[in-house]
């Protein structure tokens, strides 16, 4: 015992000035004169931004009221009652109020499938994927559109808010998947004409802004169809978005295909598998798994880009906020700012959450490579 304490006594504590908060501050904030100056500038910036935010959002903000007049006083901050009053509209648009349970049910069903699918540890991925990609879209379609099983038909012109944002983003990415895979395979094909057509489509779509593709879908698509055939406005936007994201997805998937070692292709050939079987059973499952982070990133980009549909007259989350900002009942100098901050916050939560998820998957995949 005595010997033990002796040894312990001989192990000296680290020098005072290298541990503890003071040492941390010294090495991380004040290591040199220029560093200290940067810290001061940083503190000033952080103080300015934080204090302005708190003052605007809490101290000088209005929390209750029936219309915009409560927010018109001099120096008023955020106009929160505007958000409370319009919240249902921001979420569902003009979807009829007694039918909104259907939208909520669709969200619930989506969560029920997505949560077990996204958590790597939960077993039964095949059946969950089958549910999410095959069964759920059918149920969601009939629930949202209605017109069957005694459900009231809800025209897509009435849809709006977060509902439209989510529908455009998810249907856009899901719809672009088959085309994206075909284009990626076509770009690596040995057949020159197939390759040229794929390259041409991918490079063309990636070279033009989404807004022109949406304009094309909304203005030119009706011209392309036989006279008399008309299309739902939302469907036209969805076709445009799906074609657009197919080109980006194709490039992501091509990256995955290129990462598969040649031996895998040769082994599949050696087994006598046909081209379709080789791709469907051997190559694509590996390639797609590799590019999950890339696909999530494409989805984040698409999710943000859905806000562009407001330019062709659909009311997604941003569109409905923009529309309500000019509501004369809620006219006040801070209404617009409040609306944008709210919409921005919703978008931010979705995108930030997804990017964190993609980073997590990336780390998991990298862990496999490090072995």
């Amino acid at each position: 015992m005595v010997a033990d304490t002796d040894v312990a006594a001989k192990i000296e504590a680290p020098p005072r000035n290298t541990v503890g908060p003071i040492a941390w501050i010294r090495s991380n904030l004040l290591s040199s004169w220029s560093n200290a100056l940067l810290t001061v500038i940083g503190l000033y910036l952080a103080y300015q931004v934080l204090s302005a935010l708190i003052y605007w959002g809490l101290i000088s903000a209005t929390f209750t009221g029936a219309d915009g007049s409560v927010c018109t006083r001099e120096g008023a901050g955020a106009c929160w009652p505007f958000i409370t009053a319009k919240f249902a509209q921001f979420m569902y648009g003009r979807y009829p109020e007694p039918e909104r349970w259907r939208v909520n049910l669709v969200y619930l069903l989506a969560l029920a499938g997505l949560v077990p699918l996204m958590i790597p540890r939960v077993p039964g991925k095949f059946w969950t994927a089958l549910y999410v990609f095959v069964l759920f879209p059918v149920i969601a379609f009939f629930l949202l559109v209605g017109g069957v099983f005694g459900l009231l038909h809800v025209d897509t012109a009435l849809w709006g808010g977060l509902l439209v944002t989510l529908v455009v983003a998810t249907v856009g990415i899901a719809g672009s998947f088959p085309l994206g895979i075909l284009l990626a395979l076509g770009r690596r094909s040995k057949m020159p004409i197939v390759r040229w057509i794929s390259v041409g489509f991918i490079e063309f779509v990636r070279g033009v802004p989404l807004i022109t593709v949406l304009f094309m879908a909304s203005v030119m698509l009706p011209l392309f169809l036989p006279p008399g055939v008309t299309f739902d406005k939302l469907l036209r936007a969805l076709i445009g978005v799906a074609l657009f994201s197919a080109a980006y997805l194709a490039e992501v998937i091509r990256g995955g295909l290129q990462a598969i070692p040649r031996g895998q292709f040769e082994a599949a050939d050696a087994l006598g598998l046909s081209y379709g079987k080789k791709m469907a059973l051997i190559i694509l499952p590996q390639a797609l798994k590799l590019v999950i982070p890339g696909i999530v990133n494409t989805f984040i980009g698409l999710f943000k880009d859905t806000s562009l549909v407001l330019i062709i007259g659909l009311f997604d989350l941003l569109g409905i906020v923009q529309l309500n900002n000019s509501d004369s009942k809620w006219f006040s100098p801070t209404t617009a700012m409040t609306g944008y901050v709210f919409a921005g916050f919703i978008f931010w939560i979705f995108c930030f959450g997804m990017s964190r998820y993609s980073q997590m998957i990336e780390r998991r995949l990298a862990a496999g490579d490090r072995r």
Binding site: N28, L29, S31, N35, L38, T39, G42, L43, L45, A46, K190, M191, P192, I193, V194, I197, F204, R206, G207, V208, P209, L210, I211, T212, F215, M216, V219, M220, P222, L223, F224, L225, P226, P227, L271, G272, L273, S274, I300, K304, D305, T306, S307, L308, L310, I311, L318, Q322, N325, P333, A336, M337, Y340, A343, G344, F347, W348, C351, F352, S355
Partner: protein, 400 residues
């Protein structure tokens, strides 16, 4: 297994009958012919339907409308434009406005992006955290929302002209835009301009000479300070000696409007701010990844052979990081150019707003107008990526 054997059995049986059809080249040719025929059929159907639809709606086709009088005004234009000029001229106005905002946006976004990217790697904890917050907030909010924010919530909420905010340097900020002093060139300024050109040429010569000398003798020459002196100092001196031929005209409120000075309209400001701030967050991430991608050993080796911190960054780390940075940076430049088309949402008269907006609505010739718009953006994309590829080749690793 059963599938494979039966498949092979069938294949062999069929092969004896039609060996020809099972040769890969023949098959590939057949697939491609079928694909081409299908695409041609689709194309024919589209053209046929479009022609029928256009006939029914009495819309002309062809590009005759380009020479017709536009009959609308454009709020901001780099070249002379009024409502009696043609649609073709309006197209040019829109294209120039797009190029202006995209070009300026690329410069601002690159500078801001590099500063924030380097700040993210700062040893100063606070600065690194602030840069991270900037990146994570800005890149996860849609650009269109940010444009609306700058335009409707910030610039349109500024005070009226009478209560303009005064900025340092004589600028005035109000709801009508940013008023800045305009330079007035008086005779004699050509000499100053010539000195600037001369300074640039001389600086380039000094750079080449100093480089050759360093390669031969190892001695360094203060190129940066000499260049600064040549490009900035010499013209400044000439300017003062000639009795200041360039003066500034300050904006002044006279009656209901401002006289003198230059005005940057709120639409332009909002678009430039939104595009630069948004793209800078992506560029910052690219820069960070690029600098982190240079192996630590390189920097340690640079310090070990006696280079200073600054020299190791400038001569060893940055040149290698640039190789990683340039390709993704190119695609960000292209994204910024494409995103400038969101101008249509806040009323900045860019190509999409003037041409695919006003001209399309007035003429109804959707096919021609949208095709031209797409071709212009494709051309801009191709030119930008060609230039950046050339730059990339210059910077790429030269294996010796």
């Amino acid at each position: 297994m059963a599938v494979v054997t039966s498949d092979r059995g069938r294949r062999q049986a069929a092969a004896t009958q039609a060996n020809f059809l099972y040769r890969p080249e023949v098959r590939q040719a057949i697939y491609q012919v079928v694909l081409v025929v299908l695409l041609l059929a689709l194309f024919y159907a589209l053209v046929h339907n479009t022609a029928a639809n256009l006939r029914k709606q009495n819309i002309a086709s062809g590009f005759d409308f380009v020479a017709r009088t536009a009959g609308f005004d454009v709020s901001q234009s780099l070249i002379d434009f009024n409502s009696s000029m043609t649609y073709g001229r309006a197209f040019l106005v829109g294209l120039l406005n797009t190029l202006l905002v995209a070009g300026l946006g690329i410069v601002v976004a690159t500078v801001l992006g590099f500063v924030i990217g380097i700040a993210r790697l700062s040893t100063n904890w606070l600065i690194a955290r602030l840069a991270t917050v900037y990146v994570e907030v800005i890149r996860n909010v849609p650009l269109l929302l940010q444009l609306f924010f700058w335009y409707f919530a910030v610039l349109k909420a500024l005070p009226p002209p009478r209560q303009s905010l005064t900025l340092p340097g004589g600028g005035l900020l109000n709801v009508r835009g940013l008023y800045v002093p305009a330079p007035i060139f008086e005779p004699g300024f050509e000499i100053v301009a010539a000195t600037i050109l001369l300074g640039i040429v001389a600086a380039a010569a000094v750079y080449a000479w100093a480089r050759r000398r360093q390669n031969l003798t190892g001695q360094q020459f203060p190129v940066l300070w000499t260049s600064l002196g040549l490009i900035v100092g010499m013209p400044l001196l000439t300017h003062l000696m000639l009795g200041s031929p360039m003066t500034f005209e300050y904006p002044e409120l006279k009656g209901f409007n401002f006289q003198g000075g230059m005005v940057l309209q709120p639409e332009f400001l909002a678009l430039l701010l939104g595009l630069s701030i948004y793209t800078a967050s992506f560029i910052a991430e690219i820069v960070r990844a690029g600098i982190q991608g240079v192996s630590k050993g390189q920097k340690e080796a640079a310090l070990a052979i006696g280079l200073t911190q600054g020299q190791s960054l400038r001569l060893v780390v940055i040149p290698q990081a640039m190789r990683i940075i340039i390709p993704p940076l190119t695609s960000q430049f292209l994204n910024l150019t494409k995103n400038s088309s969101l101008a249509v949402a806040i009323g900045y008269p860019d190509l999409v707003s003037v041409w695919s907006g006003t001209v399309l609505n007035q003429t109804g010739q959707a096919v021609e107008v949208i095709l031209v718009t797409m071709c212009v953006f494709l051309a801009i994309s191709l030119v930008t990526s060609a230039f950046m590829n050339w730059f990339n080749r210059r910077m790429a690793l030269v294996e010796r």
